[in-house]
């Protein structure tokens, strides 16, 4: 029963994923969310403290936003990934050592994946298939 809609949804999801740096955006957004979760300082105190306190919230929020924008506006993924990596690194200083390092790591990894992503690439050839093709080529060469 669940096979029906899933059978249609999964290829659609694959196609959607193929057109954007999916893992990059997802990791960056998750990193921002993780840092926000470790903060949870009451807003009263943050506003009382001013800019310094606000930066603790601002940077992970920008990370989250960049991650989501990478997913939904992949045309600009280079710009978002550069902002994302800078903000991720900045969160070390402002937000609990970048969410105790976890969020920082996710954010930097996600930004790098988004930066390294290129649309419209050749399909990946699996190693097994490559080996098989190499063997076939050798076999074709050997008798000749």
């Amino acid at each position: 029963m669940s096979g029906g809609p899933r059978g249609k949804l999964r290829p659609a999801f694959r196609r959607w994923r193929a057109g954007r740096p999916f893992w990059g955006g997802l990791l960056l957004a998750l990193g921002g969310a993780e840092i926000l979760l470790t903060l949870r300082a009451s807003l009263d105190v943050v506003l009382h403290v001013g800019m310094q306190g606000l930066a603790g919230y601002l940077l992970p929020a920008v990370m989250l936003l960049c991650g989501v924008l990478i997913l939904f506006n992949p045309a600009q993924h280079l710009f978002y990934s550069v902002i994302g990596v800078l903000v991720s690194l900045g969160s070390w200083l402002t937000s609990n050592l970048g969410g105790f390092f976890v969020g920082l790591l996710l954010g930097v990894a996600g930004s790098c994946l988004a930066f390294g992503w290129l649309p419209d690439q050749e399909p990946r050839v699996s190693r097994r298939r490559r080996r098989k093709e190499a063997r076939a080529a050798r076999a074709a060469q050997a008798p000749g």
């Binding site: 694959r14 009451s42 690194l89 070390w92 105790f100 930097v108 790098c112 992503w117 690439q121």
Partner: protein
């Protein structure tokens, strides 16, 4: 002629003609390792640089944690500009840590304008495992400015200089503008504070700019 060439390019997926152009989606976005490395290498270098600078105490970092109780210990705390008053911390609505407290925790807010801590250890219980941050175990000490902690428990051997006890919390002036509480609340303040073998259970540390020489961050079965 050109149109036919374009047409040919569009129809055939690969110029060489693959043996199986079947199931896999023909062309899709992909991460090129070398492009990713262009950003990954400098980013890793900067991250390492930040960690090293922090561990040397050259760079201050900020903490803003609340909702999860965490323990702070230090063998010695010296501070100037100390204020302390009672307060009620409210958790975010529907916080899983609220339990039967109604989301409110009665806390003692301590504000220290400039603090120096020896052998700082901070641990957060993440359920089963503890995230432990240690710093200031070498010759250099941890320094913090505008350190504001909301604690439920505080123990240690304390000594104060020029202490004033029983002020209204809104009239405090020794710890700067951040060390001022709500009206009508009991409070105390002093010029200097010295606490030996400090142990705090905190609900929030906010906007304390910490300099953490000798930083060690890791997971451990036991907290501080």
């Amino acid at each position: 002629m050109t149109s036919s060439a374009e047409h040919g390019e569009h129809t055939s997926d690969r110029p060489g003609g693959t043996p199986e152009a079947g199931d896999a989606p023909a062309r899709r976005g992909r991460v090129r390792a070398r492009r990713a490395a262009v950003m990954a290498v400098p980013a890793a270098a900067v991250a390492a640089g930040l960690a090293i600078l922090t561990a040397e105490g050259a760079l201050g970092v900020q903490f803003a944690i609340s909702g999860m109780p965490f323990t702070v210990t230090a063998t010695e705390l010296n501070g100037t500009g100390f204020a302390q008053f009672g307060a009620l911390d409210e958790m975010a609505e529907g916080s899983p840590n609220a339990g039967d407290t109604g989301g409110q925790v009665l806390v003692v807010t301590s504000v220290i304008k400039n603090a120096t801590l020896t052998k700082l250890c901070q641990s957060v219980d993440l359920g089963g495992t503890n995230l432990v941050i240690r710093a200031g175990e070498g010759a250099q000490k941890v320094t913090a400015s505008d350190l504001t902690t909301d604690s439920t428990q505080l123990s240690g051997d304390a000594a104060f200089n020029n202490i004033e006890i029983g002020n209204d919390a809104s009239t405090l002036d020794k710890a700067g503008p951040k060390g001022r509480g709500p009206k009508g609340v009991f409070s105390q303040q002093s010029d200097t504070v010295h606490i030996a073998s400090l142990r705090q259970t905190n609900y929030a540390t906010t906007a304390g700019v910490f300099k953490l020489p000798g930083l060690k961050l890791g997971f451990s079965e036991s907290g501080c």
